[in-house]
Symmetry: D2
């Protein structure tokens, strides 16, 4: 599907999942042998067979259904392979572990990589948006509220809004990545009952071996860390969706202030050659429609029964990878769109002009009210807006024809009201400041492709 | 994933989607030629190339991303293939259609098949549950509310509750299947602008050719029928989840009134050989956790922009097939569980006995209150419950030691209070009635496998 | 909240809920007395006290929390009131019922009324949209796909798309209203264990008394009918959201093809007097954002435990009324917007003109390709589009300067390509047909207010 | 509704919302006067009228609907009140602000208080669970996976799992509370266009006055902080739901290892006096069903249009308060349940005994396999399990009758296998460690009530 990410999907496909289970089993055998919990020869014999190439994936898939999960047939097969070379060693396959230990640890390993890829792309988006915010810090454009033209702003300020949020998302994603990088190892009911005091010793070594952290206790049915990953990803997609919403609205034919980057075969219509469809925004917005439901599923699955769950755990299996995949897809599209966004600052200025000055109504209201009081000020403003509509002229011309106004505001003062640069002065400063902070955060390494 | 359905996934995978697009294009060419809208030779030339085996799927997948959808590269390739044999005919590939016409029609064709498969399985579930409801219409068991033992019921009555709902779901699914079996064909903005009056004529013939209904107008951005499919499936999964919740609770080691069917390799624990895990229920419950979020996504995607949407449509692509897949997975698991459910009616009776008569407290309250009034009746009941707790005896023994009670209810009357058959008399009738209705609805053909 | 509906909220507030419980208790007492199950005098005594004015709502609210639901304190209080006038009658309060019987029946009664109100408003929307579809059946406007100008359509055709879906929604809502109008009455575990054969007799009479249908069996933990109500409402809101999305996009300052109706105090900005904010669309779109999550909650709550649930049932209490309320709010806003929508057909025509003919590119492509074949036709079209862009002229002027084109299409043929009436001919017919069907469905009674 | 929280609902009701808007307006007037942006007298005149008691709430509610939000009529009324005492001052009401500035700031103020209340209750839960984890660190009980008896654990270890997660949730909630405590102040399009350089100066002072932080820029349509509040609350409810799921399962009549605390009027059945319904768990589980949908709505609302949104913002209004309310309700119920939970450690031991030793199968498997190798070990174990089933004896007795076993494991070794204290040794240590960390985190102040 266009909205998912093939490179992420590969991290979570059956082959990768089985490989992850085998990484767990190999590491477990290695450290258990090092600690003398299992014979050294058994450790070697097991490690040697932990290669996904030896495993028939379609067989595992078939047997996983009745077994209830894919670790069970994988470990059966591993045991058979080990047994064929060292019968005694086969006893020590999966020693002290439960199938969920292997599956969850494999998940965590894949998640670590996937979140790393998302972070890289997010840094790209941030770097590109920082350039845009800086470049267009003072580029005036129409600000719009409730889809109506409202008051002037700058494009850099608008970009800074997206950027500022994405900096927060990146920080949060780093936190959840660190938090979720946690070993699963507890045995049948999570308390190392089978291994006794060896359990915690192995856990410490196993976490170190896999470069994971060792949690206070097993989290077979305690899933807050994964839920946190899910919701943090979904919120990031939400902000990317906000950016895509804005870009796609600005790219409407009638507004035409920005366009998605062009590329061969990109955004074509099969029947309308004049179109350049904003397909990047479409993909991001689709992700933003999908992410909430997937995040909700992760939250719904949390009340898991006792030591290991019936249903809630299984509900996570497809859901979290899917969410990670669409988050990656969204950020890849965002990186492409942000890096090559075509900004038409002339059109932005024309769209301001086309409002006939109405976009300065707020600015004008402040100037009039400060002098005339709100009652008389509002009256004068209303009169000017009506006169403008009737005569088809500009708001300024309408004002200049009003003796109350001309008696109140000098020509210079009126010019100041309609001076877009003055009106958006703060916007420019903010845009530059956020751009600078963003650049500092991603460093020089994150160059837009 | 264990919770999805491979046979359904195949209906919606890339190969099937491309094949569906080609079915649309072939039918369009055929009927357009028949109606004289395109040359007859062009029709043949196009139809001849509409074979998915001629298409490089990985290329289509790669080009779909920048293009925005997979119909565009598929149609490009089809045009190239046709052109190689009949250059003039290539002009008439996809004549009058837009890419969404092909994609949506392909979806609808797949959906029709998938809903048919779900219906077959649902008929199996219904047939098996009808047997269970009939067989155990009078099998007494503990009824439980808020997870507390409450009052007696029968297992058949419990099954009848699931069954009665599933009959409604099956009717609703038939309705939505009929409703959603609808051609998509409208051209760029849905109004046949390119074809003029030929448009409606082709639409009628095309719908007939594909055995679809011809809608009043194109539904490119009007998605209520699909949303309706989604929510109807999700609600069905919800009821299957209710059944699985009940079965898994009854299958708890401490209650042990039912067990999932056994089979080689099914429900094993990797470390605890004594266990038989209810993996069917786990899969169904996982589906019930996942379906609501997917249905919500389909609802969220409905407010689609103008004539064809930006984001909302794309959000459907993975979501609806996923939901169909887990619905099918859930109903397949339910069919297996229902067909082979092991019901331990002895244990059900023992669990009634183990309440020491407390489960007849409601029955008793009615008998006492009718004679003594609620105030004195409640007092007598409370006294008996306390006495039973203190002495470790049964509620009946405690009552027999209470002169107020013995003065109020004769021994026969007391026996009637504790006569489970009498208490659950209505339950039996209902169970038989629902079972009969269920059998009538599925007919003799739906035999449990 | 602006997005909810106060008139609906009132149907589900505490006072109405308690009144609903009392309606159930009064009807139960009345029919039980009629059938001789309880003394006639007790029936009268109970019915006489079933007046919500006698009940201290804040006390009930306070006691509901520890008790677990509000029926328990309500029935306690009813019993006390009855006891004060007729001690013996107090025994027969709530005779044979469980608290969920009263709560669910009260819910169903409120739902029946609420769905009736929604239906009335929906008929208004349909009547107004039918007028718009008819009036503007032939009003040409720009059709837009992926937020880009695509090909011509008519406003009536666009309205017909909304309308056609709303007709389906209204039919579905009528179905679910009928289906959900179902008595709840089963006693502690749903099987009338306390009443025996009197149970079904009372159920029949009670359903008749309350003008509800009598279900096959109690549905304390079988919630498919309510889930169906929820999702059907949510899908209706989704289609209203589609309508509001379109209207708000068309109402953008830069497009200005429609405006929401004006009214005193409506859509004002506190600082920008020139604005008319589309607040009706905002409310509808907010409802469309909210409805999916609420519908998902109803689906998530379905797997309820055994005979009465722990958590799932309670999750419905606030959720379903909230969803009904926002659905009603959305349809009320839609009725207002549809009844007074200001359509600027001049602006629609101007926006077509402003595309410089590009919007006829699809129409042109068909004409050229039919004559030149797709390869040469596409080339000629591309050339004309480029020439138009370079020269700032119209597409037609660019074509007339191209000898290939002039040699291919006569002036009349070219005029036909750019004749919007011809291009949108089918749209007009469809719009009129859907409008007629809509009017027939609502009858003459549903006049827009 | 039982599942919400009245004390939280009050923070977000109309009166509180209007009061919050007035707090914003008063603070704005005060600091604007202090900074010389508005006349000092105007500041005083405005501040004096910012008292919610002067406002007709039903009028505001009525006018909010057409206006689009409740700030507009509130500010109109404030202006009228000020005007009545100081006509000139009325001009400076709401000076430089937009209605969303007032509404969002009022929301943030209420949220700060609400999150504070949630934190207090969460500290109570944590303190009570720390006591339980410590007290029952070594209390053996059956560990259960997939709702089947699996292997021994301790109740303290189980509690430690809930506790460990709740410590993380509390940290996260503190983070989001700090992050979300952020002033909204930007004027019409968020860039202080009306105030120019005065804008940032006022913002700094206003944030200080209201004890909020001053953000880099206005966040009218950038809602990640609120989404983060929502999902963090929902995940906390998810973990409380896990705790409630476990408790309610353990409280089943047939398992009876724990009971919710009793209290007058708590958990009664209207017809079954012997029951004590786990109504606290029911309320928490209901919250856990509801929270995901509400959190999803907050995520779905994120892609808000341009400078201020059409629909997305409005969708938040009821959703976030509802989620805060159910989160508070859940944590209040959890505090009550945790503080008074009745733990029956005798019953926990009996339930272990009732497994006839099968719960030690994993422990036994390790002992046998280590000596005999997995193949022969599994065989011996399977034999013993079968023999136990056939003879109705204990697993140990079955083993003692098996010469292979007696030749392999000495009596002392066999005793060690079945020694629950040895088996759960690690569990005890973990429980004590987590309890100690929890106590350290909440300090001595958080005493269970």
């Amino acid at each position: 599907m266009v909205t998912a990410s093939r490179s992420i999907d590969a991290l979570f496909d059956l082959e990768s999942r089985v490989a992850g289970i085998l990484s767990f089993e190999a590491a477990l055998a290695r450290v258990s042998a090092q600690l003398g919990v299992i014979p050294a020869s058994a450790g070697d014999a097991i490690v040697n067979q932990c290669d996904v190439a030896h495993f028939d994936l379609s067989e595992i898939e078939r047997e996983a259904e009745p077994a209830g999960n894919e670790a069970i047939p994988t470990i059966d097969r591993l045991r058979a392979l080990v047994s064929a070379t060292d019968e005694a060693a086969a006893t020590y396959v999966h020693w002290g572990a439960t199938s969920q230990d292997a599956i969850d640890t494999a998940l965590v390993l894949a998640l670590r990589d996937a979140l790393g890829k998302i972070d890289e792309q997010l840094a790209q988006v941030i770097a590109s948006l920082a350039d845009l915010a800086e470049l267009h810090a003072a580029t005036p454009m129409v600000g719009r509220t409730l889809l109506q033209e409202a008051a002037p702003t700058t494009f850099g300020f608008k970009v800074a809004g997206w950027l500022d949020a994405l900096l927060r998302h990146r920080t949060r994603l780093t936190q959840v990545r660190d938090e979720a990088r946690v070993l699963q190892f507890g045995g049948a009911v999570g308390n190392h009952a089978a291994l006794g005091d060896d359990g915690p010793r192995i856990a410490v070594a196993l976490a170190a071996e896999l470069e994971l952290t060792n949690p206070e206790l097993a989290w077979h049915s305690i899933r807050d860390r994964l839920a946190n990953v899910a919701t943090t990803l979904a919120a990031t997609v939400g902000t990317l969706g906000k950016m895509a919403r804005d870009i796609s609205l600005l790219a409407q034919s009638e507004i035409a202030e920005v366009r998605e980057p062009s590329a061969v075969g990109r955004g074509r219509s099969s029947t309308m050659p004049q179109k350049r469809n904003p397909v990047g925004c479409a993909a991001i917005l689709a992700a933003a429609v999908r992410a909430p439901g997937l995040a909700a599923t992760m939250l719904s699955s949390m009340p898991q029964e006792h030591e290991r769950a019936l249903g809630g755990w299984q509900a996570e299996w497809a859901t979290l990878p899917e969410l990670v995949s669409i988050a990656h897809g969204a950020v890849v599209h965002a990186a492409f769109v942000a890096a090559g966004l075509e900004v038409d600052s002339d059109r932005m200025r024309q769209n301001i002009v086309a409002t006939n000055g109405l976009i300065f109504a707020e600015s004008l209201a402040f100037a009039l009210n400060a002098r005339l009081g709100r009652a008389r000020g509002s009256e004068a403003l209303g009169r000017a807006i009506q006169r403008r509509a009737d005569s088809g002229t500009t708001l300024r011309a309408a004002l200049e024809a009003d003796p109350t106004v001309t008696a109140t505001l000098s020509d210079d003062e009126l010019s100041a009201v309609f001076d877009v640069r003055r009106v958006v002065g703060v916007a420019e400063q903010v845009a530059r400041r956020v751009a600078a902070a963003a650049r500092a955060s991603v460093g020089p390494g994150a160059k837009p492709r």
